[in-house]
């Protein structure tokens, strides 16, 4: 348990950074890549999605591993899932590189592959705590991560419609008090 709690702050920060990168990459305006509205909105959506995803995954897997929670504490599964989610780093980095250096539009593929890998890694961390391998944990994490990947792929299309409204709202406010975007 001590090994799991060590570095949890840094892992949490890295995880939020990864999801922010996915959000920014998915919602970027390719005609204006550094539009602050798209960047901030994308980062916020990504981080919120990541918080919900991790909470859901921890909750589902935690409910299946009651004995583990009794032995190692209530937060053991949550920490194990958090550790597994550090496996998102390569995918988030590649998504950001593909978006900003190669000019690709990357709505869901990188996050989908990353989430599935992170799910498997989370189940491995839980197996390490238990000292045995468990196919049910692998299946549960794969199903939850797959579902969230699908939600992201579908939902991001709708989320992409929002930034222009935000920008329009800001410009409207700006026209009343002086436009901050100019």
């Amino acid at each position: 348990m001590e090994e799991l709690t060590k570095g949890k702050g840094m892992r949490s920060f890295i995880r939020h950074l990864c999801f922010a990168a996915f959000g920014v990459s998915a919602l970027i305006d390719m005609s204006n890549p550094f539009n602050p509205v798209n960047l901030i909105f994308g980062a916020v959506i990504g981080v919120l999605f990541g918080i919900v995803c991790r909470a859901f995954l921890s909750g589902i897997v935690g409910s299946m591993n009651g004995a583990l929670k009794k032995e190692h504490g209530k937060k053991a599964v949550s920490y194990a899932v958090g550790k597994g989610m550090t496996y998102l780093v390569p995918f988030a980095t590649m998504a950001a590189l593909a978006t900003f250096l190669l000019g690709w539009s990357v709505p869901g593929g990188f996050l989908s592959a990353g989430l599935m890998t992170a799910g498997v890694a989370s189940s491995l961390e839980i197996d390490k705590l238990k000292g045995t391998t468990s196919i049910k944990n692998s299946i549960a994490t794969s199903v939850v991560c797959g579902a969230f990947a699908a939600v992201w792929t579908i939902g991001i299309r709708f989320a992409g419609m929002v930034p222009p409204y935000i920008e329009g709202g800001i410009q409207l406010l700006g026209s009343l008090v002086g436009n901050p975007l100019q």
């Binding site: 780093v89 390569p90 980095t93 590189l97 593909a98």
Partner: protein, 187 residues
Amino acid sequence: MDTAQTAKKPLISTIISMMVSPAKALKSSVAKVPWYFSVAVSALAFGLFFFQTGFDLYKTGQKGFSFALFSAGAGIAYGLIIIPLLGGILWLIMKLVKTEKSISWAISSFCLSYSGAMIYGVLGILFSVVLGWKTAVAFGITGVLWATGPIIATIREMTKEKSALGIVLATIIGAIILFSWSLFAAL
């Protein structure tokens, strides 16, 4: 014949295991697979990936069919030369952290990490030919991304569970492959 059949069985199950449960496959099956079969997996994976790129360009009229065939050849060469080379470089880096795994195990595991890319490549070709989809990104890139998990697992196995090093190196390797493919796609 028996040797070939014995080799064929662990290869097929190892390919599937590397996609579904790479950590388990690395501990049990990879050592039984001859290195040249592993290199064939990466060669086939990239051959299919690059062919899909060329085929997509052919379908949009940007290139001729001969370019699609050239792409397949370039992909096979990439999987035969570049991927094992990257595996060898990875082993050299791992020697700095005192890995006990042999270079042939490292190259074999690294090449087998692209088992998922090979399966995605086969599916991509099917969807491309039968349904007329453009699959280089949806199946090709996704397949290459799927190799990231097994690569991290390979490095963890070589370093006795050092995940952080695996994550950093897998990121670098993934970026190298993405960039090299993008250079090819821009031809």
